[in-house]
Amino acid sequence: MSLQASFWNNLDQVFVLLQHWIAGYFPVGLQSAVGTILAVVGILATFPGIFALTTVLERKGLGRIQNRLGPNRVGPLGILQPVADGIKSLTKEDIVPLSADAAVHFLAPVVLVVAVFLGYAVLPVGRNMVLMNMDAGLLFFFAIGASTELSIFMAGWSSRNKYSLLGAMRAVAQMISYEVPLLLSSVVAVMITGSLSTVKIVEAQSGFTGIFPHWYVFTPWGFAGFVLFVIAALAETNRSPFDLPEGESELVAGYFTEYSGFKFALFFLGEYLGMFSIAGFAITLFLGGWGAPLSVLGFVPSWVWFFLKLLAAIAFFIWLRGTLPRLRQDQLMNFAWKFMLPMTLLNLLVAGAWRFLGDGWLRWVVCSAVLLAAYVLLGRVLMRHQNLGARSYRYAD
């Protein structure tokens, strides 16, 4: 391998090499344990760091979308705002209501953060860079994601507050409803790959035709699956436009009304980290994971591509939050059960048809036509009683 190629290869594997080098200082029996600990430390350092970056990006981004500046006092252009936020949340008094259930009130943010961090164990952030390569990796992630619903219920119930309980019940109903389209839309990627292991799913998308990659998002069923997965992911993490459970204008702060100080920060951390991990899974399942978008760019390290895609996903989520109005609870539920569930089931059929129609242009036409027709028909049928007039725009002066 030429010197230049080996340089890029080493850069690609730099974290793996670092892990092995540090583990080499320990006796042979402890080396695998030390390697795992180092990987865990890496995860614990990286994703909360991205969380800090995201808080400031979100506030600046939302500010610009809403025609205002966002935080601009701490550091140049307000970049050090997360430091100020962290110090504030650490030094605020931790108020627990007198009638609240103290044990459950304390455990709810703990359960959330633990469950969310566990989900990062099967996320492949680069070539050979996954903490645990399990055969049933995807199932592990969704199982852990289902446990976060319990922590939201615990938070809402233990606060003995009407608003918290309402918010918690809405949130759990929403998360359970959107769990079904989330899982079903990810099943298409599993079907075509033939494995539940996230590493194998990424490797199945690492081929190129000419210079274009084999990402699943560039196929009809993959595109539909990706869109449905992203919508369900937004709903799972209670992110706008599905953030009625924490609707600031209606429910004070929903299920974390009674939390202050560091526990509130932990809830925030848990929510954002959940958003990152589910965005990471959308990238892994449909956007080719750590693969390069063009074959000529293959020399760039794999982890760079993963984090660039993650950043793009985060920017997209912030954009959605600033632009779309919030959905009402019944609109949310109808959307999940009447639109997304039939579309995901149809997507399964289409993916099966794709596999059995064989190579060629026919399967592209048939699959795209079926999905497009279903989308238009379902939309028209569900909207037939809404007498919506033409759009009217009002611009800010």
């Binding site: 399990m134 969704f142 994601g145 319990l150 759990v172 033939g194 494995s195 009683h385 809404q386």
Partner: protein, 179 residues
């Protein structure tokens, strides 16, 4: 290895038993439901220690993710989570204790009877998710279809139970369930 069991197994078993005891003995009903969740998690860890990955993760997904939430919602919506009155020991505690002991003895006898005579570790059969899927599609396809029909019946039943009664007079307020 204590008593022939590994440390991991003993810890997981202790967690499971503690959760089950707490679920039976605690006074606050929601606390009981949450301890039951700990028991489910302990069971899932036991499955994982036996290398049954699919069973373990399905346990977490179904039991903790759905059944536990169903239990707490049921408690909440049927007003069972108020301040519990203190109940003393029931009057038929001897009968309950003897039935529980008899059941435990029966289960223990059945488990010990089913252990193989030789105790060397034979190669565990690799049950991967792929083999489960293949078995579901080939030899167990009839139970799969029957379960599908059962789930459909349950869903339709839930919708019918939850559906609001139709108004006798259409007042035009039915804007329907579209987006």
């Amino acid at each position: 290895m204590i008593f022939g069991f590994s440390i991991a197994f003993l810890l997981t078993a202790a967690l499971t038993v503690a959760g089950a005891l707490a679920a039976a003995l605690l006074k606050n009903l929601v606390h009981c439901a949450l301890s039951l969740t700990v028991t489910f998690a302990g069971l899932a860890l036991l499955y994982l220690q036996l290398d049954a990955q699919f069973a373990g993760f399905a346990q977490i997904l179904v039991y903790i993710g759905a059944v536990a939430i169903l239990v707490v919602f049921a408690i909440l919506l049927t007003r069972g989570a108020g301040i519990a009155e203190y109940r003393g020991f029931s009057s038929s505690w001897l009968l309950g204790l003897s039935i529980a002991a008899a059941t435990f003895a029966l289960l223990g006898w059945a488990v010990i009877k089913s252990l193989p005579a030789e105790t060397e570790a034979s190669a565990a059969p690799a049950v991967t998710v792929q083999s489960i899927g293949a078995a579901l599609m080939s030899s167990y396809v009839l139970p799969l279809e029957i379960v599908a029909v059962l789930l459909t019946v349950a869903l339709i039943g839930a919708v019918i139970v939850a559906m609001p009664e139709p108004r006798t007079r259409k007042s035009g307020a039915e804007s329907g369930g579209g987006q």
